[in-house]
Symmetry: C3
Subunit: 435 residues, 3 copies
């Protein structure tokens, strides 16, 4: 159980790399992740600037070398080399002296958090800008300032990665995370690290019924590009059975689910069952409506795509004050936080792999006593000890899948799996494909 620690270390490696929706930072991050997972099927793709992606077009690639504001006395502010959040993402090149009055039009702060540098981008409208803490901005005096951004927007490509780990069936499970955020730990070094950790886990599973697809993409534009290329939408529609977006999974807050638009898809049912019964959550978790979506579950569930992908977080994006600011550091996340998220996702995979329809072979209860599975002595309350098994048998009518049964008989799937194994060994049960 050192997945939390491993994931934390990986996040820590990814943290300092400056990423945006395109560019060198994403490429560097993906190579680290590929190396970490150690599965040679991990593929990195480049899609050229100008490529159509449904209603969208792949934007120009962006490169940033340096950025700062300099006062006449040579003091530097909003220095990119000190904190990469100081520059507005996709800022154009600039190198000129301007007045304070003009300067402040190019400065973004988070007014309600005066110590925080906000994370700001402007991908689709050409401008330049700097981000500072409200406190630092207030200290700027009237006068002339040198605004300097050494950046470049050019015809290049958008980079993403995909790892498909085949199982017994082509039916597949999607894990998707985004790679476009610069140095913020929970959002989304944690998501990338968890996805990598899960990919490693799935790679090493001794048996896999389902095929697992891991996707590392820039948010929104990346999801749209990903779905539009290589007939992926058609392929996914054909084989998709469940999916999760992973982001903000490293803190110690309550686990959160963002339900699909359908609210009760297999993705929803699996994760809600696990969150309800897991020893990690002890039944405490937060359930958000699809109206609260914001990450790539938004594209996956959209009309015409219709993939029922659930969002998974610890404290949900938007809900923690550190969100999208310089306060989202490696101190905000922890090995425990990541371990919890890993365990919940692992339980979700286990539940899925056992989620069949189960049907007892013979009418009436089997005689458990002759198999040593029933108390020999009958006295008040002796029945309690075998309640889970008796109830599983009573509900195994071939019309309910394991999730239904677990929910109806109020028993965690981890308790039911050994029961299923016993009943299989005794040749008492028929297992039917659930999908």
């Amino acid at each position: 159980m050192n997945e939390g620690l491993e994931a934390y270390n990986l996040a820590n490696r990814l943290f300092p790399i400056y990423r945006s929706i395109t560019g060198a930072g994403v490429r560097e991050s993906l190579i680290i992740i590929k190396d970490y997972i150690g599965n040679n099927d991990f593929q990195i793709y480049e899609v050229k600037t100008g490529t159509r992606a449904f209603d969208w077009t792949v934007p120009r690639e962006w490169k940033i070398r340096d950025a700062y504001i300099e006062s006449e006395d040579g003091a530097r502010y909003a220095d990119f080399s000190k904190n990469c959040l100081h520059v507005v993402g996709y800022s154009k090149n600039v190198d000129e002296w301007i007045d304070y009055e003009e300067l402040i039009n190019h400065i973004f702060t988070q007014e309600d958090q005066e110590d925080a540098i906000p994370y700001v981008t402007s991908y689709y409208a050409e401008r330049y800008g700097f981000c500072m803490s409200e406190k630092a901005k207030r200290k700027l005096k009237k006068g002339r300032y040198h605004v300097y951004i050494d950046s470049e927007l050019f015809d290049g490509s958008l980079t993403y990665a995909e790892l498909i780990i085949p199982g017994e069936t082509e039916k597949e499970v999607l894990f998707s995370t985004y790679t476009c955020h610069p140095s913020m730990a929970n959002d989304n070094c944690s998501g990338m690290a968890l996805a990598a950790e899960l990919a490693k886990y799935v790679t090493n599973m001794s048996q896999r019924h389902y095929t697992y697809r891991f996707v590392f993409i820039p948010e929104t534009i990346g999801a749209i590009v990903y779905l539009s290329q290589n007939n992926r939408l058609e392929k996914l529609k054909k084989n998709f059975i469940a999916g999760y977006t992973l982001s903000c999974v490293g803190d110690n807050g309550d686990y959160s689910i963002i339900n699909t638009i359908k609210t009760d898809s297999l993705s929803d049912r699996l994760l809600m069952n696990v969150l309800h019964f897991s020893e990690k959550t002890k039944g405490n978790y937060k359930k958000y409506s699809y109206l609260e979506r914001g990450s790539d579950e938004r594209q996956y569930n959209s009309p015409g795509v219709d993939l029922s992908v659930v969002g998974f977080c610890r404290t949900k994006y938007w809900e923690f004050p550190e969100y999208h600011t310089s306060l989202d550091t490696m101190n905000y996340i922890s090995t425990d936080g990541l371990q919890g998220s890993f365990d919940v996702m692992k339980e979700t995979i286990e539940a899925l792999e056992y989620n069949y329809f189960y049907r007892m072979k013979i009418p009436c209860e089997p005689q458990l006593g002759k198999r040593g599975l029933y108390p020999e002595i009958s006295q008040k309350a002796t029945y309690d000890a075998i309640e889970a098994m008796i109830n599983f048998i009573g509900y195994a009518n071939g019309k309910l899948d394991l999730l239904d049964i677990s929910n109806m008989i109020e028993q965690p799937i981890r308790v039911l799996i050994p029961i299923i194994k016993k009943l299989k060994d005794e040749n008492l049960i028929i297992v039917e494909e659930s999908l």
Copy 2:
């Protein structure tokens, strides 16, 4: 926005006319209404006494000229010329001197409201009677009284009116109100006035997808006669999509809906959406089960008719103390009360006219930014400003009609209509018939 005032003035003209389920008062009222609406398709029908109407028969027509009780000293009580509620509706002719002891068998009062003259009828059992306030009745002394009712029951006809305003489709919406109540303002001069005002509004709509049918009938017997004549039941069953009975719509109480027997018909869904989101109601309204029905929604929803007509009131009939008494005067209703009812019904019509299934043309979200519909800068919470549009797009999957979407994304239809217009202009959306 002077519909409330106009409707009030119309109600005020109708108030003094003595109406019953048949007779001159109904005819006079219908001519005023026809004139008010100014639509030449308004048709007045006469159905002869004795005509079969399903299980019923059109009753004899009733004419009343005068009625009073006179004591030996010449004092008059329950004088019809002073308040037309003093006579029991459909009283037979009488002109004789009787003892006090017999007289009181013919007097009806409202014991729990000692100042009110109750509204009493006896259409189908021949008798005569007077209505007085409990206070006035108590003042009557022992002695001889002259009971005088100059009325007539004769083979004539039952009168009703219908206005059909055609739209692009034969699918139609029904508004029904009753014309048989004498001088009570809320019940039902208000209903007749609102129906007339809406008929005028619909007549003047620049575009109408649906056909609108306005029906002015005596309550119960009128609805039954109406449905049984001219194959109307078959025609309505074929084209009906929604309908409302209008009564007691002039006071300032909470808006009320009486649900259909189905509870979730289009009629129910439309009005509940409007009542939930309207600026008029601010979400406060009363929802009554079909078990609380009492007006013509009772016949429309009945087995074999099966038209899902909803009842609409401000304070529901039965629920205000003035109901069916002389206290239901023109002071009890107001221009504001009628304006509110008009606005709610108008919003209902608007919601219906936009109630299609909407489907986005292209997978994933469209790129709203390039169309100026998305914030250029992305920072925490910038998403809020476009929440309604993003959510509409996210739910426009061709499987939900506008009402579903409005309810699910918690946005009033009045907010969604301009969004739909923009998406249509951008050629991003497909509109599909909902019915």
Copy 3:
């Protein structure tokens, strides 16, 4: 209304007979019951030891003549002749002197009820044992004891009984009770007595639409044997429409329903309607989930059997402290307790016999006035008196059965039956088979 007294007297005759899952006590009890019902179609069946029953085998028959523990001074403890619960059911033969230290391994007590002798069995693992009160056990001193059980396990048969009372249709209703418990009054002399009383009642019904099947079987093994013999499972699956297990029906506690696994089968709907509206319950009753099952509803509802049989009790088995102890005496049950259970089951049968789909013949309400069924005078609130009839008519659309209508219009079926009779007499209603 002396069914409660009669049932009590029958339970009192059955109480002293020593019963187990096989043997003379069951036979004697069934002969008394057959005689009591007085219906010659009552059949007693014997199924030989070793006969296969699905996954089970009919066990050896057990005979017990005497049992006690004797100390060296000749004092007797756990004397079967004083209370038959003193011996563990199906104890093997034993006749030897053992030390106190060994003796206590063979003694069962109910630690949380120190005056009670528990009811203990060990049908499928060969052993011997005695049951004593905790208090009595504590008084036993160290020393030698003579353990004596004069019992016999031999190839014999398992005994059960069935009574089929034919109706107009082969569709049938099942009442099932168990016969295997020794001298405990509520569990289950009360169940046997109620089943017998109901069988007598059904035998004497002047008209029966449905066929009624009464089954008297040992619990669990009896149900399994019963279903597996004579193609009964197939026959029941074909004709079964509703069923109830009867046990613990003699005390004065709240009425209880143990729902089927489906939760809304006809069996559930019928009994829940009756429990909700009965004058016996005044709406107070306890509703247990199928997870709380424990009697033969557990076999009837099991996968592959799938008969929606509901459990009926007063205070549910497991829920009263006297349960499965020597405290469950004839003083614990009463004539009133049994009368209440009888009345509820009788109401259930009546509701079922009237549970058709009803459809009004003519569109709109019929003219009730001309049939003397409507108030002649119309004034505020005159409608209240005929609410049940008007609502029944309004919901009699051919799509709702009587249970649906009763639940929707909130009127007990006993109120609706006379209304249905009137409407039938007036030829206003069509009655359609509900199943």
